[in-house]
Symmetry: C2
Subunit: 168 residues, 2 copies
Amino acid sequence: MSITMYHATVPGLVRALNALSSVLKKGEAHATERNIAPEVLLHTRITPDMFPLIRQVQIATDMAKGAVARLAGVDPIRLDDNETTFAELYARIDKVVSLLESFTPEQIDGSEDRDILLKMRTGEMHFKGQDYLLGFVLPNVYFHCTTAYAILRGVGVVLGKSDFIGKP
Amino acid sequence: MSITMYHATVPGLVRALNALSSVLKKGEAHATERNIAPEVLLHTRITPDMFPLIRQVQIATDMAKGAVARLAGVDPIRLDDNETTFAELYARIDKVVSLLESFTPEQIDGSEDRDILLKMRTGEMHFKGQDYLLGFVLPNVYFHCTTAYAILRGVGVVLGKSDFIGKP
């Protein structure tokens, strides 16, 4: 099967987000066992000027939902970024995974040269679809999933890299 | 331009490794400014049972050099994993970037369904080329580059996510 924009986008993002959910569940279980308030983990950071765990999950899911929509040429759904519990983060991830799975190859394939415009706080970013996926979306999603993993590893949650990699 | 195995492999890995080199250089400069022995940073870990900075760099480059070779159907080059200084890590990264750039689209394209066998300490892993790249190589390379970044952020090196993302 030849590589396509759909295959380079959807299966990997679904896998990364499902793995993130499993990583978070191990974090929550660790908090429960140790009588640590879940909010403590959700607000833990690698260092004070990096985002806390909860925001890492929000950004990873934002990147993924934005990717499929923009590559398909539709408006990304809006999420309110108001999660305060592990359960709400699982629900957010599940919602985005369902969204990813709702896109068809026909919607995403052929988007290699689609013009993508991102409006960031720091200004506009312009990409072609393929560069947006490979040079922006994937590194960002893996960055935030890894940072979430590292935050939980740093507080003693027992995780291995296979938890991060997940299953197809 | 349609997405190809070459385009999904080489430019992103080159960019990730060059960005890793820049991140390390900021770490080394930070150590110099603060009179911190470079070895301290090179041996820093997120937590005791994660690999230190030096090993994160070795694994990220291993994954990248293995990817192009295996997708092209040639034996990966061997690296001795004996680096002990920042300068040696830069040289390792440069060597792997040059290697990546020495592969041509003709060598990598069409490898979507190539059988890939990895012999790990934990056993054999079997992939098709496309799944190896998207489900194993890219997540692993970004995992180790992010962990290197997080280690340096955790000790106070001034870095932003754009340092990790790098430039095309």
